[in-house]
């Protein structure tokens, strides 16, 4: 056969070059940081040497609190994300699959989407107090909108050509959902989940910060600021960023594996 396909499957699982390039800027920051703090350019209370930050969660009395705070935040993230993302996929999926639902719910959805999430905090605390409940609702809301929007876009983006194939082949409703709608929307749903996870993580920390009360990374930051411990604050910020970064990398890896059918050119 003249037109034999080449079955591409091997993909370098670890790209050392890209990782090396990605480390250049963080590396420069660390060097600059070290030069500034050890060169006597600033007093050490406002900018702490990097090695003290690294040692902090293991040695310092206030720093050790990072671990239970981190755990509490991650638990909130998981609950809030699970609730918000599933509700988002359900609503986005409904609006994407049904013109009627789109017309009925679309305008309200798009209006609500315009409200800065932060504006909900006073309402949430008024209705639900300042315990875990309003925080988890806030996290769920942060995950809800990107998950809903991208599920909707994913379904709407499926080519009409495939729907013609489905009707020519007389596919049943169930098969249409399983073999066309779901896999067709999946790449976009995954993008939505990745964004939702990040916004939910930011939502977790900001809700803890804004609603005070209770353990969490946001509370950890709040306490550090209250005690004028800049080292604690910097540690909190670094961990916040690190978790976000890991979420991004982890999502990309998992989703790429699940979307193997896209091949390399996507």
């Amino acid at each position: 056969m003249s037109d034999a396909p080449s079955l591409r499957s091997a993909r370098p699982s670890f790209n050392a070059g890209a990782l090396g390039r990605g480390l250049v800027i963080p590396g420069l920051i660390v060097i600059a940081w070290t030069v500034v703090t050890h060169g006597g350019l600033v007093s050490s209370n406002l900018l702490v040497p990097i090695e003290r930050i690294i040692a902090l969660p293991f040695t310092d009395e206030a720093g050790v609190q990072l671990w239970p705070a981190l755990l509490a935040s991650i638990v909130r993230l998981i609950f809030g994300f699970a609730i918000g993302a599933s509700a988002g996929i359900a609503l986005g999926g409904l609006m994407g699959a049904s013109r009627l639902a789109d017309r009925a719910l679309g305008p309200s959805f798009n209006a609500l989407r315009q409200i800065t999430l932060f504006a909900w905090i006073p309402l949430l605390t008024a209705w639900f107090g300042n315990g875990d409940m309003p925080k988890i609702i806030y996290v769920a809301m942060s995950a809800f909108f990107p998950a809903a929007l991208n599920s909707y876009i994913g379904l709407r983006g499926i080519s009409a050509q495939y729907f013609e194939v489905a009707s020519v082949l007389r596919l049943s409703r169930l098969t249409r959902i399983r073999k066309l709608l779901l896999p067709g929307a999946l790449p976009s749903i995954f993008v939505g989940l990745q964004i939702a996870l990040i916004t939910a993580w930011l939502g977790t920390v900001s809700s803890e910060y804004a609603m005070g009360n209770g353990r969490g990374l946001g509370g950890f930051l709040l306490e550090g600021r209250g005690q004028f411990r800049m080292d604690v604050v910097v540690l909190g910020v670094v961990v916040l960023a690190l978790v976000g970064y890991l979420i991004n990398v982890g999502c990309a890896k998992v989703f790429r594996r699940l979307l193997a059918w896209q091949g390399d050119n996507k």
Partner: protein
């Protein structure tokens, strides 16, 4: 290579006085006018014509994707209503679902069938073999070349054992070498399956090489200008005088002289 066992059921297609218009800027734009065509069981009919002559639209009416027309389209005496598995279609783009493997794409046509799984599996296997894709069952569409993807699309349309196969410029997007090769393959599959075929193409050479009759259409609005019987035995020699004569006749009709 094992042939697909049961021959396709026989199909007579009658297109009776079919007209269709689209509405553009609130004015009706006629795309087909008074189309009449009878296709006999096992016949290979090609439709050629300039772009805009409505040949693909006609095929969409026959496959049942568009029910908004005047006139009648009868399959074995019964009016066509919506798509049906007794009519298969191959589009110019392969339209395989990119997230399904070759065999899963082909098996789509058997969805909801009452027959036992092993029978269905065999039908998928046989059709993969029929189009020469054995060994590529587990490949995804992005791993296939254009020609191979189009073979898979042909297998998907044949797996339901349609009485009539509609081809909408199926080789139009392929390079000339692959195209010539797949023309021979189409001929082989048609002879092996005895299925009735209607193929839309803008390649006169391809139409003469494959068809029993060639329908020449003219545009604005789409009408049948002439129906040219080819009357040559297979395999046809493109370099032969008879081939050139039929081709010349069709080209004359196309240019409207």
């Amino acid at each position: 290579m094992s042939a697909v066992e049961a021959f396709a059921p026989r199909a007579t297609l009658n297109i009776r006085d079919v007209s269709k218009s689209y509405v553009v800027d609130e004015k009706p734009l006629p795309v087909l006018r008074n189309i009449a065509l009878d296709v006999q069981p096992g016949e290979f009919v090609s439709i050629v014509g300039a772009s805009g002559c409505g040949k693909s639209t006609l095929l969409r009416l026959v496959v049942g994707l568009d029910a908004d027309y005047e006139g009648e389209i009868l399959l074995n005496g019964r009016r066509i209503e919506g798509p049906g598995r007794e009519r298969g279609i191959v589009f110019q783009e392969h339209r395989l679902f990119p997230w399904l493997t070759v065999e899963d794409n082909i098996a789509l046509g058997l969805d909801g069938s009452d027959e036992p799984q092993h029978v269905l599996d065999k039908r998928v296997r046989d059709n993969i073999a029929l189009v020469g894709l054995a060994g590529f069952e587990k490949a995804y569409p992005h791993q296939l070349s254009g020609g191979m993807a189009q073979r898979a699309a042909i297998a998907r349309s044949l797996v339901t054992q349609p009485a009539i196969l509609l081809l909408d410029e199926p080789l139009g997007a392929l390079d000339s070498i692959t195209r010539a090769y797949l023309q021979k393959e189409l001929l082989r599959i048609w002879q092996q399956e005895r299925v009735t075929v209607i193929m839309v193409t803008h390649d006169v050479d391809e139409a003469v090489f494959l068809s029993d009759r060639v329908v020449v259409m003219e545009p604005r609005p789409g009408r049948i200008r002439s129906i040219v019987p080819v009357g040559l035995t297979h395999p046809r020699q493109r370099a032969s005088v008879e081939f050139a004569r039929v081709k010349g006749e069709i080209l004359r009709d196309l240019s409207g002289e």
